[in-house]
Symmetry: C2
Subunit: 136 residues, 2 copies
DNA sequence: TTTTAAATTTGTAATGATTATATTTTATAT
DNA sequence: ATATAAAATATAATCATTACAAATTTAAAA
């Protein structure tokens, strides 16, 4: 995903590009580490001292309505966000708790059982120990 | 999964089969509807009036440690439990909020990117509208 | 440019699921 | 029967998220 200008991208999706919204969206596309609300808040509060956590929540919920971000629910009570809305899998390392992306082939599911169902979202995530942690 | 006797099954997995534990496990294998803690609690409280929600939590956490149930995290803040520990996918209907099972082929993932990673769990879930809800 | 209205952000309080802790009950062993 | 350990329970604490109201900013109109 190559987004030249976050503001334009937001506008294109019907979102008024306020400073907070631009910064939050930029944070998501620059840091592909699938951050939690708390991480986003702590990082951005450094440059926007008046930032409120409620704003981060509101903004992410707005982004989700407009379909420019997706939620990643791997762990209960640890909601993460992803600005890459294309279909891909996530691998969460239980050691370092990093979340990695990996490719997926859409038709590689056995979906005959779901004939007649309207599939709107596909989510795949694995858990285990990443290469890095295995080597150390 | 054909479990003749819940008590024996628990014992076999190193869990002392108390009344509460047996009932909770039986509930999971009889009702393959992937219930939430609240559902389990409300249903079983009918036959075990002294049942505490804490016990349901404790028991499910114990079951998870012993690997006889799995968590299904589709929605944040709606943790569901499944006594079928084999690999399969889940489809959650956003209309009726039912959760359906569907088969999955293990090797049908493109996992080359995860070479050198130790994969311990694989989760797949879809969201959309089920056949039933589409027809009505 | 001033005024007014609407949208956005913010702070605080409320909610709800889960966990922590202490007490009570039940089971087990001596 | 008594002592000890395990399990269940009730209550309080925690934490992420949402609700709500007030303050601020932005946009629009006069």
């Amino acid at each position: 995903m190559t987004i030249i200008n976050a503001g334009d991208y937001l506008k294109k999706h019907g979102i008024k590009p306020s400073l907070q919204r631009i910064r939050i969206f930029e944070y998501l596309i620059k840091n592909k580490n699938h951050p939690t609300v708390d991480t986003i808040f702590r990082e951005l509060a450094k440059e926007i001292p008046t930032l409120s956590k409620t704003t981060v929540y509101n903004t992410l919920n707005l982004f989700m309505e407009k379909n420019i971000v997706k939620v990643i629910t791997i762990e209960e009570n640890e909601t993460r966000y992803d600005a890459d809305t294309s279909l891909h899998g996530h691998f969460k390392c239980t050691e370092c708790s990093r979340v990695y992306d990996f490719d997926l082939d859409v038709p590689k599911f056995k979906e005959e059982i779901l004939k007649g169902f309207e599939i709107q979202e596909r989510h795949v995530y694995f858990k285990g120990i990443c290469k890095d942690c295995l080597l150390n």
